[in-house]
Symmetry: C2
Subunit: 277 residues, 2 copies
């Protein structure tokens, strides 16, 4: 008996197999359940994005919230209400199936985790895609900046609610969530120079050094992601993070919002290039 | 009798007096009725913006229309509903008073021209500011590119509806309006290089050469602005233009939209720098 193509295709993939895959191949692997975890190092060189889905009645508020807070929420695309296709950055994708795991928040609490939004996506849903640091994995690797999440399968940045507040827009308000990277001292300036040229992926760091200066009192109390050990001769550097959208949804306690599970980004067709705001 | 300060301030100003004025000074001159015409060469080096005001029920559609069509409509700021202050690009300005002349369109037709929106601005009005070519007057002058509108008080770019269509969003659809500049042949490439670095001011030209290729059959039939004579040894170059918003309002026949009168831009506090989309 011949093995069917679908059986052959159904095996799980390894991260190294998807590093140099196209965004379409990565999205297909996710859609078919052959990739079910975080997207670091996948489709290197393409923009990865935070996904935020809100009912249309909150969508104009959320869009202004992104434009008012472009460091944490650089807007890459927004869908027409009810249309699950992000036509600007991935016109053959489907926001209902192309993210490995989704969180459904109701009234500011995580109510469900699902692998697909089929049967959940509604005609009044609007999807927003905003920039993400993982988009810079390729330029980091090419620049010889070995951040922990790039060299260890287990490592992932830690994210914290900071004391820095977003500019409110409509119902949305809340803290800027900051993403921590421990950086060898000698690489601090090169990393500032590098990241400052990519505004659509959060740009330059928002803070360097003492976490308490931005209201983070205890690095072991991680709000999202995984705790990072700070080795000797390393500096704590913080970047504005797209999870800011989720924190705002929690703080605003809007009745419903759907987001990607942390680290499980949407992979776009957009090539990473230097960008400004 | 001493002349009162208000009397002294009430005299009209000359363009050269406002060329190197601050954006605040230009806005004050406009607010006080001491500057009542187009804003070319004013507050050189700061972003000038197209103003579009729509009722809140059309605002999310219009915001998506801007994001879907960033060449004609690069978004610089959007106000909270009912708030006439563009807090991102000019936090001490007032959209009701700081534009020299406004057009009120109803159902796709110009219904009125007014000098102020006091008594007209409502709690459900949302203001959008989008980028404008006049923002580049300073870099054009510094680069030694003497476009006609910079060297002659009477000259102003001509704008035409083209056959290039915008990406629709919600109720908004329509042609990309193109702004014509006749450019000496030797300056065509330098001008492409220069403008391509300023995406927030429409970036590189959308078309060069035969106007018929973008559906413009007769250059003497100007839709907005003033007819430009094309001298010998000059090339017709076209850029996407912010009047695209007004054309979309006309085509969509939305019940109400308020825009700046052509050429009478809103002057922001934002310094012009190289930008991407």
């Amino acid at each position: 008996m011949q093995p069917s193509p679908s059986a052959a295709e159904s095996r799980s993939l390894t991260r190294s197999e998807l590093e140099h895959a196209s965004p379409l191949e990565v999205r297909r692997a996710i859609r078919e359940g052959r990739w079910r975890t975080n997207t670091k190092r996948l489709a290197l060189g393409y923009h990865q994005a935070n996904l935020t889905i809100v009912p249309e009645r909150y969508a104009f508020d959320f869009m202004r919230f992104c434009v008012a807070n472009p460091r944490p929420l650089p807007l890459l695309d927004v869908t027409e209400p009810g249309d699950p296709v992000p036509r600007k950055v991935a016109p053959d994708a489907d926001l209902r199936t192309d993210v490995a795991e989704y969180l459904i928040l109701r009234n500011g609490e995580v109510a469900d985790r699902v692998r697909s939004l089929e049967g959940i996506w509604r005609k009044d849903h609007v999807g927003f895609l905003t920039g993400c640091n993982l988009s810079l994995d390729r330029v980091m690797l090419e620049a010889g900046i070995p951040l922990p999440h790039l060299t260890s399968e287990e490592a992932f940045p830690a994210q914290y609610r900071s004391s820095v507040q977003c500019t409110p827009a409509g119902v949305f308000r809340g803290p800027v969530v900051m993403s921590l990277r421990p950086v060898p001292n000698a690489l601090v300036v090169p990393l500032i120079e590098l990241t400052s040229r990519y505004a659509l992926s959060h740009g330059a760091p928002a803070h360097i050094g003492d976490p308490a200066a931005i209201g983070i009192r205890d690095l072991s109390k991680v709000d999202w992601g995984r705790e990072n050990v700070i080795p000797p001769h390393h500096t704590t550097m913080f970047w504005a993070c797209g999870i800011t959208a989720q924190a705002a949804a929690m703080e605003s306690r809007i009745p419903e919002i759907i987001v990607h599970a942390p680290g499980c980004m949407f992979v776009t067709d957009r090539v990473v290039k230097e960008s400004t705001l």
